[in-house]
Amino acid sequence: MGALVVFSIAALGLLTYRSLENRLIDDNLRQVQSKAGSAATVISEYTAYCARDLDARVNSLVMQDIAVLLAEGRDPLGSPEIADVERSLLSQLNSKPEYLQFRLIDSRGMEIARCERVSGETLPVITPAAKLQDKSARPYFQQAMKLARGQIEVSRIDLNVEHGVIEEPRVPVMRFSAPLYGEASSPLAVVVINLDMRPVLNELRSSSPPDWQVYLASEDGDFLLHPDGEREYGSQLGAPGLMRSEFPTLDWQQAKREELNLHLSRADGEKLVVAAHVVGLNGGRSYCLFYTMPEARLLASLAPVRRTFLLTGLLCILVALGAALLLARSIARPLEKMTLAVRSFGNSTALDLPLDASGETGVLARAFSNMLAHLGMRTTELQAEIRERRMAEELAARQASQMSRFHALVESSNDAILTKDLEGTITSWNPAAERLYGYSPQEAIGHHISLIVPPERLAEVHEIIQRVRSGEILDSYETQRICSDGTILDVNLTASGIRNAGGEVTAVSIIARDITERKFTEGLFRLVVEASPSGIVLVDSSGNIELANAAAENMFAYQPGNMRGLSVEELIPGEMRYGHSGFRRAYQSKPERRDMGAGRDLYGLRRDGSEFPIEIGLNPVRTSRGLFILALVIDITERKRSQLDMAAKNAALERSNRDLEQFAYIASHDLREPLRMVSSYTELLEERYAAQLDDKAGKYIHYARDGAKRMQQMVADLLSFSRVTSTEIELEPVDLNLVLKQCMHDLRGKLDESGAVITTGDLPLVQGTENLLHQVMQNLLSNAIKFRGEAVPRVHVSAVQDGNNWVISVQDNGIGIDPQYHERIFQMFQRLHGRDSYEGSGIGLAITRKIIERLGGSIWLESLPGQGSRFLFKVQSGIHKPAKLEVEVEHD
């Protein structure tokens, strides 16, 4: 009987204990389970942001400019577009400490722009062109090249690789890559972000519940997180499948959609409790996050419960044993009932204990009930305590991690960041603030902000604090600040409030950026633009005027500032206006520096409706806000007027020249008739009536005849002179060798008489007519012989090629000509010598020059008195080399 009672009580106790144990383990697991769930969310959030950001980068204007550049097949390296991209990527890296690399890789797999955070360095840098790598073999590049527009490839989490080698110290990364299409139908490049996974992995590691071990495993069986760091990234480090070998029974692939929550044995045989959660990340990859604890340790936490339970149980046994002896039979039934009740104790339903049973059984039941109530209370208290402690730990860890990230962000920022209290006392001061203002944190913190505010701007401080206090965030507040060395800086401030837990603004944070250089450049730019005498009009991509300088406003008769915002079409008159937007779009699709409306007359429309002729040069200007067109406008009213004047004057001059030639021809022709009569009849008079006239009359008649003869000669010369231009000629290649031969034949009388010797080199073919060139050579040769000195005349004719022309030289050893007469000798009827010394009317060289000019050439001479003369004339070559032949020669 006693044994029965002891057995019953022991069985009852064991059952109760088991139920308690189960419930405790379950509760504990559920907590860790939910912890795993929230940790999984942290990872997904961390990576999802990066995917969205990458998408935004791909669609940014700088990337689209690159797409245009690549589509046109230009070399990106060294281009201004790449420099823009690099700057943009660098500022992205600057503001996002979790990004390790930001890259642009062309369609062949070569990096063309890369910014990275080099380990050990605080600030990210632009990688120089020489260090760009070939990434064509890397899976994230190959996958991204296969993607459609807007899709993103997300790599597995693995260790960063540079130049094909795993980077040390090891950096776990995730690469987000997206194709860059632009207007093209296939990807032109790939944009890649390397996301540093250390922050999130470290947080997982440090935030795991006490006594629990955290693991992160990939689908292919690698550990990404393991208590033993050496077992991580097995595939990459040459030891794949570590997951399977360590946890042979954990097949989470099957349980992908369910929460894993189980007991299992590790390969070394230790029994473990496991809480797992499957993390699905962008790009379809899943990871298993799980926490383990040896079952033994979990049960150890139940020791106090067990102790209480055993003590109470023992007490019961003693009491029951005594009662049992007396009431063995009467308690058999209630005991049965109690056994049933206790078995269901773990299910937390109300216990059906026979509390009202009479006698010992009732006492036992009540004692038992008290004991259970006591136990339940202790258990609940214990659980609550565990929960509270976990929550506090988690909160502290999260806050610490956030604080450290925030701190790192502030410390590494390129912008000066400082905080001040509502009185204006500086409370924090980052390194960039030190660089900007020249005060160290020790010098600044605790001082009033007026330390860096110019005296005349002190009122601003109060205003900023008031506005921030009222909840406003001040953005792009441009003002001036003063540095420790007294320099005045132009700065751009962002001011916002820092709130306490109650939401009340208790301090102000200020982010300051130095814009002194930008202000100066802006000022300089404005001065240059305004000083330009040409009109300058900057037009945005939709045709609105963004900027117009004073010259442009003046030209188009607008008040200062009134052209801004106008549609550029408003400056174009009448019918041209309607086609203009089409031209503008065409230009935007093929922007290049060129003149507008090649060959057409362009007109501008003033505000008062009048039109004026203009010339426009177009220049594309790429900005962060898209393509602008810079138009340089020149008012050509004056130029047009003088061109018209010039054309009219030219026409008049031509007419006058023609009239003069006509006049010379007609005059000389018609003058011959009466002259012939004067000459003939004075001769007849002399011949027939000489006998009847005295000597004086004979002399007079002689003078009259002589004058008439000379006039006849001059008229004849004048006629030949005017014939040079009045006759139609057709230029053809003429062999000067033949011309010279003919001349020598014609001059043989003079040659024989003077004993002159004419020598010649090989002469070329030149453009002209045989007749005109004959006259030229004849004139020059007869002059050379005529104006001879004492010596026997020697004349040498030679030729030298000058590009497409020939220079022909006629050199003599005659009397020479003083340089002061070198021009005069080419004028008509100008003689340097008396008629007695050298005969001739002085027309020869005038005609010669006229002929050479008619042939498109020029004539001049080199001569000094007593040293002979050298007449040179330049005429076009008679052989035109075909252009094609020259090209072939070049190829040789």
Binding site: H669, R672, E673, L675, R676, M677, S679, S680, Y681, E683, L684, E687, R705, K709, Q712
Partner: protein, 146 residues
């Protein structure tokens, strides 16, 4: 001996030509007409005047004439089946190549630039006598072609 018809409007020129040719042995007579119209009437017998019964053996024609100019007269002469065989010497003050070429084109037998002085006329007279009086065989007036 040849009968010459001189078509020339300038009396000073007529005088000079008469001076140098009248004494020449090959000239039988010189008829002068002052313009083309008169010359053609004379030759076609429409306006019979003194001496018109004799057809000239040689015509000396100035180019610069009032009314019909020398060129037109030459054209008329050469288009007339009877008159075209009479040799025409153009006697002009122009030495323009175009005038020379045109005259020969129209059928002139010779083109002579009027000499600039009287000695030139004397030389011309000798040359005409040598060529037209001795060298050339001219058709006999009255022997019409059948």
């Amino acid at each position: 001996m040849i009968d010459i018809l001189l078509v020339e409007d300038n009396p000073a020129d007529v005088e000079l030509i008469r001076e140098c040719l009248e004494n020449s042995r090959f000239v039988a007579s010189i008829q002068v007409r002052e313009n083309g119209g008169e010359a053609l009437s004379f030759l076609t017998g429409e306006q019979p005047v003194a001496g018109a019964e004799v057809q000239p053996g040689l015509i000396m024609l100035d180019l610069n004439l009032p009314g019909l100019n020398g060129r037109q007269v030459l054209e008329e002469l050469k288009s007339d089946v009877l008159l075209k065989r009479i040799p025409v010497i153009v006697l002009s003050s122009s030495d323009a190549e175009q005038d020379v070429a045109d005259s020969y084109e129209l059928g002139a037998s010779s083109y002579i630039v009027k000499p600039a002085d009287f000695s030139g006329y004397a030389t011309l007279a000798r040359a005409l006598e040598d060529f037209w009086g001795r060298v050339v065989k001219l058709p006999v007036p009255g022997h019409e072609p059948v």
